[in-house]
Amino acid sequence: MADEGHSHRRSGRLIELLTNVDRRIIFLVIALAVALPLLFPLNLPVRPSREATAYFEALEALDPGDVIIFSFDYEPDTMAELDPMSLATLRHAFRKDLRVIALTNYPGGPGIALRNLEQAATEYGKQPGTDYVFLGYNPDYSATMLRMGESIQATFPTDHSQTPTAEIPLLQEANSYADIPLLVTVTASALAEYWIIWAGGKYGQKIITGNTAIQAVLIYPYYQTGQLAGFLGGLKGAAEYEKLLELPGTGILGMDAQSMAHLLIVLFILLGNVGFFLQRRAARNGGAN
């Protein structure tokens, strides 16, 4: 009888342990799961998905001298996830001698755009005005996207450094979507959807997009229907793209950490469920007794 009571108490403690792990412990374990692989990489293999390959090929298919639009549609909050894909895309573009018209639809975007543009341009010896231009931030993304289909110069009378866009050689050649074979948007919000609807749907602009993992799920249908030529989903997408480019960056570096974090979350879910089943069995047995 005493043994039975002891066993009940022990199983009760186990259930308590499994079902009520303090959230601070969970936080600590996740922090370690992310930090340790960054310090001691496991070098897990990265295999490019078809979406990332399509993204890569959309840029690869362009000819040197072609002009693309690159919209930095994110703020510093998501830069850890999105900066790797922005930088890799710009490196790809400059490596192929494409010219880039950059802009942002967020007030917090110019700092990010400038940092990425300057870094990639320096690496490939590209000059502002002729090889790339940063138009800056324009209030109201819907009006901006629609108006650019008519005239980029009218939408942005000056670029970010206040140079009149009418005087910028690059914009004299490419002044609307009709002159742009590809538009890239890297975003953490629904702006990818808006580009697809307004620039793609209304003006027939070909679009590829880089997204946070959570937003990637949202734009999946557009890729399947061909409204989107390719996309990168989260840090994994960035890693796949880096792999295709053979330019390893922080995307590939982050894959080990992400794998470990996902694995731990799955383990926590399993632990919780084991506790839940034990609890249910104990309740059933208790009821039967």
């Binding site: 996740i30 922090a31 009006a143 994994k236 926590f268 879910i269």
Partner: protein, 213 residues
């Protein structure tokens, strides 16, 4: 007139925006561009409105010495510092850029990073196989979670020439069951949007004028 004027204006602009989608006429296109220009002007004004509201809200807190007024001093201080730093130096260099790179960016990135911790704690707490449907959801969730990272590529079986990994199953789940459900929601949301637009154009929906239902 206070409400009739905006409703008439809304009707005219709404009809213009609708008609322009169906006609390539140059005159209508020019008016459409006018509306887009005005839209940007109005949006710019809302940013000013927001800043003024923020300033007044925190100013009141400071002047009344309400609890936590010290934080309001930091808010207003930060706001004024960034405005003047951008005006005196430039947003591309100097103190503004420094504050952006080393204060604003890490703080915002930290907020986003919290998501990893919250996803872990919420999944652990709520993801329980309470019944058949919940178990199905749980299984799909686990497969997608592992299938979306390189680890998922390594876990799988080889059947003949084909390697079926968690990544393959995860792609199937995302491509078919997930998309089917998503499209259902999207169609409903699309119709809701169109219905709201029509209601605003004909003046049935007037919430934007500040009248609750």
């Amino acid at each position: 007139m206070k409400k009739t004027g905006p409703v008439i204006l809304g009707f005219l602009v709404g009809i213009l925006m609708l008609v322009q989608y169906f006609t390539p006429n140059a005159w209508i296109e020019a008016r459409y561009n006018n509306v887009l220009d005005w839209k940007q002007v109005v949006f710019g004004m809302t940013l000013i409105l927001g800043v003024v509201s923020l300033f007044l809200y925190h100013w009141r807190k400071i002047s009344r010495r309400q609890s936590g007024w010290g934080y309001s001093v930091v808010t207003i201080g930060g706001l004024l510092f960034m405005i003047f730093a951008a005006l005196i130096w430039s947003p591309e260099a100097g103190p503004y850029r420094w504050m952006f790179d080393y204060v604003q960016a890490p703080m915002q990135a930290t907020m986003f990073a919290l998501l990893a911790f919250y996803v872990a704690s919420a999944s652990y707490r709520a993801f329980r196989a309470r019944g058949f449907h919940a178990a199905l959801l749980l299984t799909a969730g686990v497969i997608v979670m592992l299938g979306r990272v390189p680890l998922g590529e390594l876990i799988g079986v080889r059947i003949g020439e084909t390697h079926i990994s968690l990544a393959t199953i995860s792609s199937w789940i995302l491509d078919y069951p997930n998309l089917a459900a998503k499209r259902g929601v999207m169609i409903g949301v699309g119709l809701g949007m169109t219905a709201t637009a029509i209601k605003i154009i004909v003046g049935i929906e007037r919430t934007y004028l500040g009248r609750g239902a």
